[in-house]
Amino acid sequence: MGITIQQLSVFLENREGRLDEVLAVLANNDVNIVALSLADTSDYGMLRMIVSDPNKGRAVLKENEITAMLTDVVAFRVPHATGSLSKAMHQVVEGDVNIEYMYAFANGQDASAVLKTDDPSRVADILRGSGFDVWEATEAYASNANL
């Protein structure tokens, strides 16, 4: 089985201070954000995060009436070498998996990328099979300072 991790996805209304409110709820409940991506459309925003405790994150947001869900994604290490990401994408495309979206974050010496695809488990296998480090949940949710 491919290794997937859980991303916390949050619906954000386009309203002043809303992002701040969401982040405050997480901070007040000791949920650490490891990586995030914020997408915006004309009338709402989409906040996607890798956090220290996705289940807890979702629960505390729900208590505060914020719409959130958990999504299976794959996170992998992208070495600081030209062409690394390109190689990874090439493998994914060869494997016939569709990428819905992707974002990257700094991770110690290297960079990491989070991939949402139509087949998370398979993409994890493909990447690992091509020599990429795919993060286990315990590694991904930990602060990058320790990696």
């Binding site: 996607r48 009436e65 719409t67």
Partner: protein, 444 residues
Amino acid sequence: MAAVTLENWVERIRDLKIECMSSDEMAALQSRRLADVVNRAYHNVDFYHKKMKALGVEPGDIKGIEDIHKLPFTTKEDLRDNYPFGLLAIPKKDVVRVQGTSGTTGKLTLASYSQKDVDVWGECVARCLAMAGLTEEDILHVCYGYGLFTGGIGLDLGARALGAMAIPMSAGNTQRQMMCMEDFGATAIACTPSYALHLAESLQEAGLVSSLKIKAGIHGAEPWTEEMRRKIESILEINCFDIYGLCEITGPGVAQDCIHHAGLHVNADYFYPEVLDPATNQACADKETGELIFTTLSKEAMPLIRYRTKDLTSIDHSTCECGRTTPRISKFTGRTDDMKVIRGVNVFPTQVETALLGMGGAVAPHYLMIVDREENMDILTVMVEVDESVFSDEIRKLDALKNKIGAVLKQALGVSVRVKLVEPKTIQRSEGKAVRVIDKRNIE
């Protein structure tokens, strides 16, 4: 008692001659009564005399029911302006009772009745009770309030006219209601649908349902859904009926649905219904939604001509499967107060609600309509809540949902709609009078 299925239902029609009358005969009867009531209103009610004079209409111009469109309207404001006895068409000493309803503005809307008005009222409710399958053998447990409100006394008068037994419980004290229902052997119950549901659940919890003899429920005085009806019916194992009326016209008994639940049969020999486009005041075709207007054809004490109910409905003149020819009005779809004219199209909040509910649970029916004007164009924005059941981490899917809602609403309303997805609980909940429409246009 088990509910009666449609196949085993025995239809009871109290006044075969009237309720199954041919349309020509009914029109002739209505015409005679209209000419009479117009004559009485013109000569005995200063308000109508002045209104008709101002329009240049005289009683002689009203030769038949087809002339009704020449007559002036009466509004709730007119009733308020002539409160309490300004619209009497008979001497005050001949008024035998008054009934009233509290308005949102504080003052009561008061209606006066002669003895004949009371008798007609009872007769109309008796027709409704017969429509619900009741006979003189039945025992009607009335837990509508008694007092100025027309609910309690109205159903009581109906039971009296039918020769059934009425138990005048009035509202409240559910424990005592349950005890009396069981002890007195009530076979039917009359109350608001919300109280019926509360009572049904209490009876179920107390394990009393099987010891009851109840077979029918007659409910009205507030809007209720088909789901609510089915729920009360299934808990109590009874057949429920939707009774309609308003104090200004007479009280409950103006209309009620039959076992086929295909609209509410109007007692049109006494109360003439019109359905008009609220924007143009032109008559709507059958099944087209508009404002319900009533003219009391035989009322003595306080006849009302073309009274605007502000209730939105449609009318169907075809013969019902039950055999009655009386016109049927559909369940109310809203109030004219809520109607908005957007790019020339009449739009009602309830249409939005119905359309959203029709999406099979894809979206929650919590919405807010915002009407605005941009560069002289009316823009309708509908805010819909995104709860956990429809939320997706993929913008593509949320946009697809948004487009789908837009398409469904455009289909239902006939105008294009901008859909805005908002967070849950952003929109006020529908208990009480939730705000469903905000009109930002400044139209003089």
